[in-house]
Symmetry: C2
DNA sequence: ATGAAAGCGCTAACAT
DNA sequence: ATGTTAGCGCTTTCAT
């Protein structure tokens, strides 16, 4: 039987209100009084009961994080960042797996909403209309998604894609392929947008392959289509797909980067573990998770209308590893002529 | 403002007690009455407030899962399994990252204990003494760890290791290396134990390298020591280490499996993604997560003393992929003689 | 089978 | 600066 506020009050010789204040608004109680309260609490091992507190304040001290797939390494760093930031503010975090399904995600939001003060929705699979309808209860912050009226953290993946294309162009590539991600994915549209813009700037021709599911297997399946496209470089929707391509290429005896340069996206740990290590666009995932919780906590404090500060855009940056090089045609000029 | 039990009672024309009973002990209220209550609740979108319920029942409807490292792919499947099982029983799950630190883990347990009915402790880094002291509040279930008095789910990794060694022996290997995991890790001891037993059975000589941290980088660092050991096969503590070895080997121009066979442990998704794909001991991770929650929920219901059913041992199984083959000496008999 | 009423542990007016 | 007291929404005796 854990100690209650009454036990502490009795031991310290004060009222329960004073005990409560000593913890929630310490500045209004006299130093000596507070110290005796704290001492009594420590002696009894007292910890305020969150349920009781929540009953009256209407707050739970919890936040929820919903990701489309717990198995996707991309979200682990997000989770870790979110976790760390939340714990620093003494919030606990509920994690749930939406299983890449919009309806499951909606069910999760409903189930969660009574038990959390706010939710971070990562790469939501929900339709824009549904998302906009969420607005109120509880507070929601979007990650990797932009919808009017909702605070969100996004990564400048269009710019990341530009960096990747410029890298390829500077290497001498003039024709590349893009293995596209899920058609309705916001991230995919952003990446594609950056790609088209950069291709124009660099005068690179790009053929699109897909869309495919953002998984390893998709890359395995797409590899031969890339080969048939007659390109010297391929940009994949994400690292998982890129590694799938790498894997199939190795099987086929196509050497990377000599015969084909491969670029990924996300910079998940896996990217550095394969051979050759993957050149990829690094996304500040842990930072993003942290920023999302930060935003959420901020909106929980001052519940005014959304402001400009409710949109956080994080930079992406290209990480050059071993899977890209100049195309064969450039390094060994054609003997003809 | 969400509907409360009073609103439902008023609408259904009954007392709050009847509403409460309609949900918690439906069999004691008349069918017609209950139906009108249910209808009223549905109309109002009523959902019992968990905090209020918890205040009186002393239960939260939450469980916690603590893992040493959210970044370790091994735990994702565990998490996913735990999640799914918990949700089916209408429990929400808190997830926390112990950061591979015993003290952090202890802090987490304390912070969590007031908000959950039970905790699943995965591959706990806590000393046995600390673990035994946990016994009571709240209910704890261990995963990948065995301590007297605590319910636990373990995987038969000793047997998995045996399968791996027998596989190697049948291929013709007579001398192998084991890259050992963290010295005090329970899992490492189990694996080592299985290894020694099997090595004796198969008459294989095994040298131990390490211990090393269970990470990719450790494998990278260990690769050359493996080479120096003059073996034809290496068993790594886990897949991450094995893939690190693979990566360094590729850099050094050592071909796998021709010059060296490599075996991992865990069968994380990564194992199938590298080239050559990793032969490894598959652990039923999702199942383990599920079983742990199952056990926890079971103990929450009938709070008797621990029984034999409180220990669940899951089988491991070898998955043979491309990183193992007969040693060169066997395929191409030495010309001498 | 149902209702009335007493709290669970805490915070927030309102008093003093 | 501190104490008194009224609930927060719910479950659970105890009556009826």
């Amino acid at each position: 039987m854990p100690a209650s506020i009454h036990d502490v009050a009795a031991l310290a010789g004060v009222s329960v209100a004073t005990v409560s204040r000593s913890f929630t608004i310490p500045e209004v109680v006299r130093d000596v009084t507070r110290q005796s309260v704290v001492a009594a609490a420590a002696e009894l091992g007292y910890q305020p009961n969150r349920a009781a507190r929540g009953l009256i304040t209407g707050r739970t001290g919890n936040i929820g994080v919903i990701v489309p797939d717990l198995g996707n390494p991309y979200f682990h760093a997000v989770l870790k960042g979110a976790q760390a930031r939340a714990r620093r503010a003494d919030y606990a975090v509920f994690v749930a797996d939406g299983q890449e399904s919009a309806s499951e995600e909606e069910a999760l939001i409903n189930a969660m909403s009574k038990q959390v003060d706010g939710i971070v929705l990562c790469s939501s699979r929900l339709a824009p209309g549904k998302l906009a309808a969420l607005e109120a209860t509880p507070t929601v912050v979007l990650l990797n998604r932009r919808v009017a009226g909702l605070p969100s953290v996004i990564v400048d993946s269009a710019d990341g894609m530009k960096q990747a294309v410029h890298h390829l162009a500077s290497l001498g590539h003039v024709r590349g392929a893009f293995v596209s991600g899920p058609r309705h994915s916001w991230s995919n549209r952003e990446r594609h947008k950056g790609l088209r813009a950069a291709a124009l700037e660099c005068d690179i021709e790009v053929v699109t392959i897909g869309p495919v599911a953002p998984q390893f297997e998709s890359g395995v399946g797409a590899a031969e289509r890339v080969l048939e496209a007659g390109v010297t470089a391929v940009l994949a929707y994400n690292d998982l797909v890129a590694v799938g391509i790498l894997s199939r290429l190795a099987q086929l005896g196509v050497t990377v980067p000599d015969e084909l340069s491969v670029v990924g996206f996300d910079d998940i740990p896996l990217a550095a573990m394969v051979t050759p290590a993957l050149t990829t666009v690094a996304l500040p995932t842990a930072l993003a998770g942290q920023a999302a919780v930060d935003l959420l906590l901020g909106r929980l404090e001052n519940a005014g209308p959304p402001t400009a500060r409710d949109l956080r855009k994080l930079p992406a940056s290209l990480v050059i590893r071993g899977s890209t090089s100049a195309p064969a045609a450039v390094r060994e000029p054609a003997p003809t002529r």
